[in-house]
Structure formats: C-alpha cells, structure tokens
C-alpha cells in the first residue's frame, strides 16, 4: 500500500488520458457483457437434469403432429407424474402486430404440469368446463384491456373450422399470472377439446407433449425410454428438456458463436492496442523520473510492479464500469425483455463477470508488460542523459 501514492500520481498525471483510456476499456467490456450473454444463450450446453419438464416432439420436425394415443402411453411410464400437451394455433387478434402465442391445451393437465402459473381454482374449473374457454396471462389481458367474460375473436391462419370458417371466437374465463417470469404472461391457452372437434383437419393429433417427471435426476432415463418406446413406429419422437426445446430455435439462428467471437476479437484487439499505446506513452514521458527512482534505490522489480499496477488498475476500472453498464442495460434498460422475442430468454450469467475479470487481467498484463519491462531495464545513466 505504501506505493499507492506513486501509482496514483502516475494515473493522475494526465487526467484526460486516464479517463479516455478507462472509457475505451469500459466500452470493450460493455460489448463483452452484452455479446457474451447472447452467445451463451445460443451455445451453452443443456443440463439435462436441470428441469422437471420434458418436451416430446416428432423426430421428423417440430411442426409434425403426434398421435393422440401416445398420451396414455406416456402417462404409464414409471417416474412420470403428469403429461399435458400443446399445439401451435397461429392466428391473429385484430391486427398482425398484436402477436402472441395461442396454445390449445388440455385445461386440467396443463395447469398441473405448469403449477408455476398461478390461477384461481374457480377460473381453472371454468376453463375445464367451458368448451370455448380461453385463459390468458395477466400482462396480455392488461395489454388488450380484456376482462373475464369477454368474447375474443381470433382469425385463424393454419386451422379453419369444419364449415370452412376462419374466424374463431373464444370466451375469456380466466387470467393467470407468473410473477417469476412475466414473459409467461404473454400467452393464451385455448380448450383443446373444442379446438380438436371444430378444426377442419388434423383431428386426433397433438402438437407436442410436456411430460412432468417425479425426479429430475431421472430425466435422461425417461427421455431415452420415451424415444425407444416409439422407435421404428411411423411417428418416432425426440425428447429433451424444455430448455433444450427453446434453444432448438436459438441455436438455429446460425453461426452466431462464430460471429460473436469475431466481433469480440476485433474489439479486444483494438482495446489492447489502445491501452498498450497509452501505457508505453505514459512510461516514456516519465523516463527521467523512473531513473531518479532507481537512483534513490528502488529495485528493478519494484519498478516493474509499479508500472504493471497502473495498467491493472486501468483495465479493472474499465471492466467494472463496462460490466456495470451491461448489467444496467440488461435489468434497468429492459434489454432482456426486448431481446426475448427474438433470442428467447437471455440471462446474464454470473460466470460472465468472472471471465470479464480474467480478461481484464490478461489485457492489463499484455498491454502493461512491454512498458513495464522497458522501465525495469532502463539504465540510470542513459535515462538521465536523455534529458
């Protein structure tokens, strides 16, 4: 700590330079925080045991329906607690810009499997007992100003009714909430039994199943058992956790990892150059001072560490500000919400902070070492003569 004054004096020698350098490092780490979060969402390995819900879809593709008869067979598997299912309805409410997902589901089982969705007993029973029933998330109801008892017209695009009519009308019988994940509240659920009976084609089929397991430790075994059960049938299945199902789309956006990494390398190469240049300039200006330090008995190694300390402080301060800004944009600036529609649920992983700290140290050493070595190897006589 006794050297702090010297390091501090070095940093504040040219305040503008220090502030500008820290700012450009901060920008690099801001981008690092944002881009890594997006890239992690795309490329992260899925932990098969991290979820107590498995999704069963057709092996052919996610739009290919599965037979209704699979439902009972799935329920009979050991370790399976409950099975629900859902189908993509498509359709438009009033205008195309009013997009929200609409899922025909079995009312009773769906809210058992998704017990994290909060709905009153009465409204749940109304949903079970109303053929044309629809329940929506709280946020969605607020967005369109819907109240219980409203009739909601939806113009179909995939499914016409048996009489060829494209307009479906549903009765709003319940509003659910999920304070833990408000994005869940942007969906609507329709009564599957009415939908299945009324649709012009596809009767008796199911989009995909959601299987709730007793113990998520058994996920791998149960997923395998399901896929083996239907192997070599004409409707083979592919089973994974919910997380893997939603990542199925994210990972398909393409070589995102490659593109993100290219951007980040460009950013860091640039920053390395800037800090390196600033550091060496700062040290060269101080050649004679360093020589004086040496003359009065500072060790070469002390000089090396003093210069490195400056560079570490610059980089760490920059990293803290940059990551702080990224966090602010994520949680304060609503970035998480606005990315949701396109990338799915993007979370700021704590591991990003760790890798940012490591990267800051590496940047500090790589950019600080050449000037530090220059300072260490400086011969007192030469340095003083330069003046």
């Amino acid at each position: 700590m006794k050297y702090w004054t010297i390091v501090y004096a070095g940093l504040t020698r040219k305040k503008w330079r220090t502030i500008l350098t820290i700012s450009s490092i901060a920008i690099a780490f801001l981008l690092f925080g944002l881009l890594r979060s997006v890239a992690v969402a795309f490329t992260e390995e899925i932990d098969l045991a991290g979820d107590d819900r498995l999704v069963v879809m057709s092996k052919l593709s996610f739009i290919e329906p599965l037979p209704f008869s699979y439902w009972q067979r799935l329920k009979s598997i050991e370790g399976v607690k409950q099975v629900a299912h859902r189908e993509w309805f498509g359709g438009t409410y009033q205008d195309r810009s009013n997009f929200f997902p609409k899922w025909p589901v079995p009312p009773k089982e769906y809210f058992e499997v998704y017990s994290n969705l909060i709905i009153s007993e009465k409204e749940k029973n109304d949903f079970i007992n109303t053929r044309t029933g629809m329940v929506v998330g709280k946020r969605l109801a607020e967005r369109f100003n819907w109240k219980l008892g409203d009739k909601i017209p939806i113009m179909g695009d995939i499914y016409p009714k048996k009489d060829g009519e494209m307009l479906w009308t549903f009765d709003l019988v319940g509003i659910f909430s999920n304070p833990d994940n408000l994005n869940d509240e942007d969906q609507a659920f329709l009564n599957y039994y009415y939908f299945d009976e009324a649709r012009a084609f596809g009767e008796g089929t199911i989009g995909n199943f959601v299987v709730q397991v007793d113990d998520k430790g058994n996920n791998e075994r149960i997923a395998k058992e399901i896929d083996t059960m239907f192997a070599n049938s004409s409707d083979e299945t592919k089973t994974g956790t919910e997380a893997s199902f939603s990542k199925m789309f994210a990972s398909q956006i393409g070589d995102v990892g490659f593109i993100m990494n290219s951007i980040l390398s460009a950013v860091f190469f640039t920053i390395l150059l800037v800090t390196g240049n600033t550091m060496s300039q700062a040290i060269r200006e101080r050649t004679s001072e360093l020589a004086v330090f040496k003359t009065i008995g500072y060790l070469d190694s002390t000089i090396l560490l003093l210069v490195l300390a400056e560079s570490v402080i610059l980089c760490l301060l920059g990293a803290i500000i940059g990551i702080g800004l990224a966090l602010f944009l994520f949680f304060g600036g609503g970035l998480q919400d606005s990315l949701y529609g396109f990338f799915g649920d993007i979370v700021f992983k704590p591991s990003i902070v760790g890798s940012a700290a490591l990267l800051a140290l590496i940047t500090a050493v790589v950019s600080g070492l050449p000037p530090a070595l220059f300072a260490m190897r400086l011969k007192v006589v030469d340095a003083l003569r330069r003046n």
């Binding site: 330079r17 450009s24 438009t92 195309r96 396109f342």
Partner: protein
Amino acid sequence: MSWFNQIIAVTNMNLRTVLERSGSSLVVVIGIAGSVAVMVSLLAMAQGLNSTIASTGDDSRALILREGSDSELSSGISMQDINIIENSPGIMKFDEEPMVAAEIFTIIDLKKKGTEETSNLPLRGVQGMSFTIRPEFEIIEGVNFQPGTGQVIVGKGAADQYQGLEVGNEIDIRNSKWKVVGIFSTEGDVHESEVWADLTYTQGAFRRGASASVAIVKLEDDQSLDKLGIFVENDPRLKLKVERESDFYNNQSSGASSVINAFGYTVAVIMAIGALFAALNTMYSAVSTRLVEIGTLRAIGFQGSSVLFALMLESMILALFGGLLGSGIAYLMFNGYTVSTLAGGSFSQTSFAFAVTADIVRQGLILALVVGTFGGILPAWKASRQDITEALRAI
C-alpha cells in the same frame, strides 16, 4: 500565405511526420478499422439475407395461399380448390395446360455440417408444372427425380450446409429412405436452401391427404393478377388469397434482416464510441508532443484556425484510412461467405452469402469520418488556442 494554403502546408507537414509517430497514429487507424469492419460485416450479413429472399419471386407469377396466412408454412389449399383455380382467366397455358402447380411446404429435421443438433430444413413437394413455371430452375448435378417415387433433389445451398445431402445418399423420412438423385440451382434464390420431392409422394409421407400448402401460378400479362384475384374472391368455395410472388418474398425479407441490421448498427455505434475515445486519446497526445512545433508555426504567422483545420484534417485522413482498412478486412473475410439461418416467417433455414455492397462500404466510411472528425476537433481546438509563449517555453 492565404488561409487555405496555410492549412495545406500544415497538413502536409503533419502527414509527413505521421510515419514518425506511426505507433499512435496506428491506434487511430486500427481503432476505427475495427469498428468499421464489425459494422460492415454485420450489415453485409443482413444485406445478403435480404437480397437472397427478395430476389426470389417474379412479377409474372402469383402465389395462392389460405386466407389469413402470410407464410407458406401456415397456409393450406385442397387439391379440389386447385382444380377450380385452373379455370380462372389470366393464367398462362403451356401445351394447352394451365400453368398452375400445387406445392407442399414443410420442414424436416437434419443436421447441419459440423453440428450435432438438428436444424429445420425446408422440404417442398412439387409437381411437373413447378419446373415449367420456374425457368430459372436448373439441375447442376445428377438428374431430376422420377415422379411418384421417393427420390429427391437438393438445392445447392442446402447441399452445402447440411450433412449427407450429396447425390447418392439417402435421407430417413418416417420409416422410408428417400434417395438424393440431383442438385439444383435457381439463380441464388431461397429455393436453393430447400429439398424438392414429388408432390404426391410427399402428400403420402406427410399424411397431407388431398391437400397442399400453396399454389403457384404463371400469369399471362399485367392485368392477370387482378383477374385471378377477382375469380378467387367471387367463388364462394374458395377461402384463399392471391399475392404477386415478388411482393410475397419482399414482405418476408424485411422481417428477417431487420433484426440483424438493428444488431449491426447497435454494436457498431457502441464500438465507434470506444474508437472515438481512442482517437481523442491519440490526438491529444499527438498535439501535446507537438506543442513546440505548433507554437513555432503560430509564432511565424500561421493562424490558429488553420492549425485547427490542419489537425482535424489529419485526424480525418487517418480515420478514412481506418475506414478503408476496416471495409477491406470485412470484404476479404466475409464477402461471399455462406451461412444459413432461421429466416422469419418460414421457421426454416435459408442459406445466403454475405454481400459487402458499395452502399455498406459508404456507410462504414461515414462512420469512420464521423469518429475522425469528433476525435480531432477537441484536441485541435486546444492546440489552436494554446498560448504561443507557453508553448515555446516547453523547449
């Protein structure tokens, strides 16, 4: 010496010493090159995707979809409806046959090269007339499929991006093996990202009964689209809509690339701010190491404003170099680089090549110049206002 000549003289002097100060000048050049390279690559990606989708479709063709559908995937049309449509006026004839083709658009899951996870590959069930309607279609390897069999042909882009789509290979689809017999091209449009199979065979395998997804129609002339539209609207049996093929794909393209565009601009602006700090830093130190020079110039009668302009010019010229370098790097690394991505409404993979266009390079250079101007103006202002005696005392 006139004011203008002064600027030239000082700029000249500055530029001749740039090489001496190469370390710090390089920081400006490379800082800006980095931002420009990132922006140009991302915009080139959006542009490539956009033009691939938008280049699909022809003014003289129409798509018929289910009323309310805006993608081929959600659309559906029965074969009965197709028979009715064949009687509509405005449809061109080929060998006495109306040029109407029913097509299924669906998805199969296959693995892309170098991945373990499957991706959504579009599969199109087509009729013989589909080829006649699209003169751009061409078999570039192997042969076309035999109607009524499980043979398929693969678009050039799909063959590049996916595993096991070479001629002679087999794809597993629902307990049966479909054999790849040819590779086709369609002048670089989205169909090259698809696999094509026989319509009837596809209807069987995908349990579509007597229905397809869309109908594609070759129009006779400019008025034909309206005639066809009126015919479809007036027949109470048809719950369909008619759209010009080129309009359909133009609408699809805007959604797909706007996200990448927005992302590209955001990242580029953030990076440009970083580059601006770097440029300011460099220009400040460039000015402070040249205080004596500047003081001398002022002492022998150069005006403050000409020093200011000359320093700004220096910064802008460095920035321009950075911009050119960045665009060049982006061009060499990415122009023509082919990737495939999940494109908007079709929920399926479209492969496309990055396209670094003149307009994108122009935008990159503008970004570079903006950073160069702002990076130069403050330090230059400081230098031009410097007290001459103070500056010369530094000797």
